[in-house]
Symmetry: C2
Subunit: 299 residues, 2 copies
């Protein structure tokens, strides 16, 4: 297959990551489904990925990569380059969730989620970008969130971490576009089916703070309970939709991919905000003389 | 004076913080100009604040508060409450700057700036919000940045930290509006005069990464050099303008203050993006039934 791409996707043991890894494997790409600890924490997930790969005959491989540790990111990148001689696509996907009244989370918890959901994007990119620049080609795809554009109550640490990651992704994109490295930010909405995101949400360490809020603390639960009820009728509500869109975007010709796309059963319209930002950015960057950094050449 | 407010402003040893502290003192408020280490690192600044307070006869007091340490935030809050019995306004201002190619910063550097510029807002709020909720009144004012809406190249760690802080501020605002606690985010542009922000910018720990970027690394310096040249003719370019606007907003009647305002000699139009976000948020929150969280009652 001529357009077979070498792809690394982080946090591929579950959720969007796993679904996208399978989808991309089925599309004919060589996919490294990276997880943090193949022999330990991720053991069952590794078995599952291996069994899907062998039963479907797709080029899908577990890869050890702990996004919280720079040496682990570096080793994973070196491994891929030694085997395949190149890296075409990196999908920054690994993430954790926290839900609850912001003030009831300890600063250490906020630091933890910022590390996993945002600082990891710098760590992973530092490992793979030098090779992409030498190739003068690459695609950085990020699983961001619509919440970065329109933040909800009771999502403080999570939304802050995704916003930090989003801005990092934007800026690393600007800084690497002259090296023909394209950036795409996927903004999923809240999917309760097909991911462990909400099931594995970490609770606040100081619940007595939330208790000071009286009835408002109840509203958090109320909103969570009616999440599915606020889906727009007729929209798909399975996480697989996100994986399919990711695979579709990866297969678009280089230089024609959207800078962002939204897949959201609640249709919060994060794209409307992001498009306004892009419009104002172009005006400002034209004045600074740097609007050429906003895209890569089509090729 | 009937409308004298008790105000704490962090990072008040220099820049916007110092200027705003003086401005608010002159307006007749009791202002705690907080700094991280009165007897050590902040010693000269303490002397300066004391001398301004005594020569102008204004109610301006240095206060020890290291935004990086929760016990320090708590002790400062307890001190203010023990002396004044209430806290009217908290201005989250303390911040550090980093400038350069994003990839040349180590993950630990990104963690450091996220801690000082964003996690600190949670820390400081956790110390003061319980008292504000008991009072059923308060104002949280944040010195954010226009960069959160339209991020520039070569500002990765800084912009990411301000974006994380911005989203935290928004969400803590939603979560506290029913307690009559108003939130205002100030979005300054880049001021080269009147602040030490750029002079004290921390450099990347791995300059050999930036060296891989060839000519692009030069563009970072070029943009920094022409910062003042991109100011819109006729705009004020002194940081004191920001301090005056902050003082003006503090003195507006409770419930009528803007959720955001921009003061930017470059006029990047961050407000246009923020207003779009607010518009789309209102539509989405109406559907969720929570748009009442977006403001406090006028009183």
């Amino acid at each position: 297959m001529t357009d077979m791409k070498i792809i690394v996707i982080t946090g591929a043991g579950s959720g969007f990551g796993k679904l996208a890894a399978i989808e991309l494997g089925r599309a004919g790409h060589k996919v490294y489904a990276s997880m943090r600890d193949l022999a330990g924490h991720s053991k069952d997930k590794v078995e599952e990925i291996r069994s899907i790969a062998s039963s479907e005959g797709i080029d899908l491989h577990p890869l050890q990569l702990d996004v919280r540790e720079e040496p682990s990111c570096r080793s994973a990148a070196d491994f891929v380059l030694s085997v395949d001689g190149r890296i075409d696509v990196v999908i920054n996907n690994a993430a954790m969730m926290m839900a609850g009244l912001t003030e009831s989370f300890r600063p250490e918890q906020l630091a933890q989620i910022l590390d996993l959901n945002a600082i990891s994007w710098l760590r992973v990119n530092r490992a793979f970008l030098p090779a992409m620049r030498r190739q003068n080609k690459g695609l950085l795809l990020y699983v961001g969130s619509g919440i970065t554009q329109i933040p909800d109550p009771f999502t403080g640490p999570y939304a802050a971490s995704k916003a930090a990651g989003d801005v990092l992704a934007q800026i690393m994109g600007l800084e690497n576009s002259r090296y023909n490295i394209e950036t795409v930010i996927c903004m999923p909405g809240a999917y309760t089916a097909g991911t462990d995101h909400f099931k594995h949400a970490v609770a606040a360490a100081d619940p007595t703070v939330a208790d000071q809020y009286g009835k408002l603390a109840g509203l958090a639960q109320e909103l969570a309970d009616k999440l599915d009820a606020t889906n727009v009728p007729g929209t798909r509500t399975d996480a697989k939709e996100v994986a399919e869109k990711i695979a579709e975007v990866v297969d678009m010709p280089h230089g024609t991919r959207p800078f962002r796309f939204e897949v959201d059963p609640q249709q919060r319209q994060a794209m409307a905000v992001a498009e306004k930002a892009n419009e104002m950015r172009r005006i400002f960057f034209d004045r600074l003389g740097v609007s050429d950094l906003m895209s890569v050449p089509e090729n």
